[in-house]
Symmetry: C2
Subunit: 441 residues, 2 copies
């Protein structure tokens, strides 16, 4: 996710006096106790007290359609996940220095969704920790330090991961060992996008080497969601992986966004590209909101690390986390949510394409399954980003009780990322509201 | 905690064939799916399936007294914490970009346990993330990069925090900007320990400056638990804080071990020293096993960061985490657990001192509240560490169904870290068993 772009749609504290008294008081208390690093979505922040399925509720009982939340991915407050957490918390919640059945059962079940080559998992609590551990694994396995990421990548908040997350902007300098490459922008580059991406990786490798920095890894979100959602052309990540490996580096697939069935056609985003990564990181939807994340890798990479380093994550892989993770896998399977992401995602994409036929502002509709990008442009010839208009749309939808955000360096791409349980009726609500907002201009 | 020393008491896979078949199978499945970076406690690993209060249970229903666990601090599976988690998970579990009451209520309640100067909190999911964020805050506020930690410190597993955790040993090189200082070893240095610690900090500052590295922070576990548990002399951290501040750096108190009433006399370890830190980090016991951690700091430090950097931790401070954290604070207050740590901790310490009068192996007994160190030495004149004997004691206690560990660079210090609900009867069990083990030689 783009931190810069979130801010395009953010609350400006200077306008607090326009809010209801109850929210003014809460915002002031929040500012006092949490300080200035915490931001709020939307010109008019949303105060939530309850959530269920695809709905968030404010204190007055108004329902808001959540088209943003890939964390509570199988639905807010899903009863099976809640029951699994409650039951396990009442039974046992301890760490991985004791033998436990739950972590092994879950690890095997999770690994069964992966190619045979990536056969081991290490658990963390957050996607940031997962990416941080992936860097440690890659540095250790390759002896190199150099990292290549996409131009507007976001990989997390630990210091090492933040310095390879250009989405933070100037406030967080990139590491001296970090290089960026433009994402495969199929909208502006057409069929050449994949080739140009691979050439970019090659150039970044050469630049690292020219500076005496050995490449350690190419780290990419397999849907390039922070860059603006670029699921095409499929196959380009396989070629990029070949290029980084030829230079002695590893290919790390960041599946925090694309993973856990979101892309519809596959359980993992890298599978769309026909590539087997060396390391895969995952997080957000893994426990439907419970803090669990992880790193899956080829065993030789983990062995090379484990033979030198003892890694113990106090809460990582604890009994409750694994119960939550297992329940999420159960629900995805039993409610056929990957199929729903494929089918309802296609329905939703077709709906946006129909809107594009009537609204000039929509320059491009792209995506896979339940991660779509709807790019807004000032005019279709120049493709100039319609950033202000997009922020207005996001806030106008919020006033219509539909929650959505924007992505990309210019914040002009609607980030459509519903929960996996999103149904056609919800898609119709979203499409209808967007149609009205676009018509209102 | 010392990663090196944990290994003194660790399971050796080569001995797996001596275990029951059920555990052999589980260990092999675990090795296949989790790989070699995961270690197990004890020569004979413990297989746990259930836990309650101060007891862990194996599959055969045998109860093990937990004298190790500062995570499930208010007691395993505490019903109030479980109920808070279950109820909140069924109601709402979302992030900090929306307005929520729970996070603000909890932040205010938590901050009320702090001095007025440290008035803002940022939430993370793990102590590692908290320390990592503390480094980012310190680097940003001071413009410096240099870090000073104790000789055998452990601060976590992110790459930036691991490289200032000398407890990992040679497998994890220290950062070029990291300097170490010996802890205030009251056992070997006597009344000079505090003065020598402060002189060590001064020397580390000078060495950083000589290398052109501006000091950013002195980061210490306020009970020096990984170094071997050094709660005395009180006041030395206040003098060390003055020294680092005079050099333009900050004083960061790592309360992951000492915090949340463990020291008995105070809620936070730094309070024993009469110092107000610039930044405080906390973790393990904060949610009784639920992954929640945090950073409390002076608002000007957070403002300096927040004005440049947007920090969003997806699960950090989510509604369920805050409900768990609030329930823990409620239980500590309502069950008067700080008072219990003070009184039963003193009882336990006196019990160890009585054992020391009869067993030459015990060289020193020290600690505060419910974090005690019992140092084992070959002879009391040379104070040579009795490392092998300590490992044997830890494993012998495990065979008697009492779970404990060792700490310090030589692994010769029993780490006595019971849950806050530990009662005199449990102390008597531990003391009686240790007496027998020591008598058996």
């Amino acid at each position: 996710m783009s931190k810069d772009q979130r801010m395009v749609n953010a609350f400006d504290p200077a306008t607090a006096s326009q809010l209801p008294a109850r929210e003014q008081v809460l915002i002031e208390r929040r500012r006092q106790s949490l300080g200035s690093a915490y931001r709020l979505f939307y010109e008019q922040p949303l105060h939530v007290v309850r959530a269920e399925d695809v709905w968030l509720y404010d204190p007055d009982g108004n329902a808001y359609l959540d088209v943003y939340n890939n964390v509570a991915s199988v639905g807010h407050s899903h009863p099976r996940v809640v029951a699994a957490i409650a039951q396990q918390a009442a039974t046992l919640n301890t760490h991985t220095r004791y033998l436990g059945d739950g972590i092994v059962d879950y690890a095997e079940r999770l690994l069964a969704t992966f190619p045979a080559e990536t056969s081991q998992v290490m658990f963390t609590c957050t996607g940031s920790e997962a990416n941080d551990l992936a860097l440690r694994l890659a540095w250790n396995a390759t002896g190199g330090k150099g990292l290549i990421v996409s131009s507007h990548a976001y990989h997390g908040v630990t210091s090492s991961v933040a310095e390879c997350s250009p989405a933070f902007g100037d406030g967080v300098p990139l590491g001296v060992h970090v290089r960026t490459v433009p994402p495969p922008d199929s909208y502006r580059q057409g069929p050449d996008a994949g080739k140009r991406f691979v050439e970019g990786v090659q150039a970044a490798i050469a630049d690292l080497q020219r500076h005496g920095i050995q490449p350690a890894a190419l780290l990419v979100d397999t849907l390039f969601t922070s860059d603006g959602v670029y699921p095409e052309p499929v196959g380009c990540l396989a070629r990029a992986a070949e290029v980084i490996r030829a230079a002695g580096g590893l290919f790390i697939a960041d599946e925090v966004q694309a993973g856990f069935a979101r892309s519809g056609s596959h359980f993992w985003g890298f599978q769309r590209h026909g590539v087997v990564p060396d390391i895969v990181t995952m997080g957000k939807p893994m426990g439907n909101g419970h803090p669990i994340a992880g790193v899956v890798a080829r065993p030789q990479i983990i062995d090379a690390f484990g033979s030198r380093v003892r890694y113990f994550n106090t809460f990582g892989g604890n009994a409750v986390s694994c119960a939550a993770g297992m329940a999420v896998l159960d629900v995805i399977r039993d409610e056929q949510l990957q199929q729903n992401a494929l089918e309802t995602g296609a329905y939703l994409k077709a709906g946006f394409e129909a809107l594009a036929a009537r609204h000039e502002l929509i320059g491009d509709v792209r995506g896979a399954g339940f991660f779509l990008g709807v790019e807004m442009v000032r005019d279709r010839a120049s493709k100039a980003p319609a950033s202000v208009e997009t922020a207005r749309i996001v806030n106008a939808l919020r006033q219509r009780r539909i929650l959505i955000s924007a992505t990309g360096p210019a914040g002009n791409i609607l980030k459509v990322r519903p929960q996996l349980v999103f149904a056609r009726e919800h898609a119709d609500m979203l499409l209808g509201a967007l149609d009205e907002v676009l018509a209102a201009g």
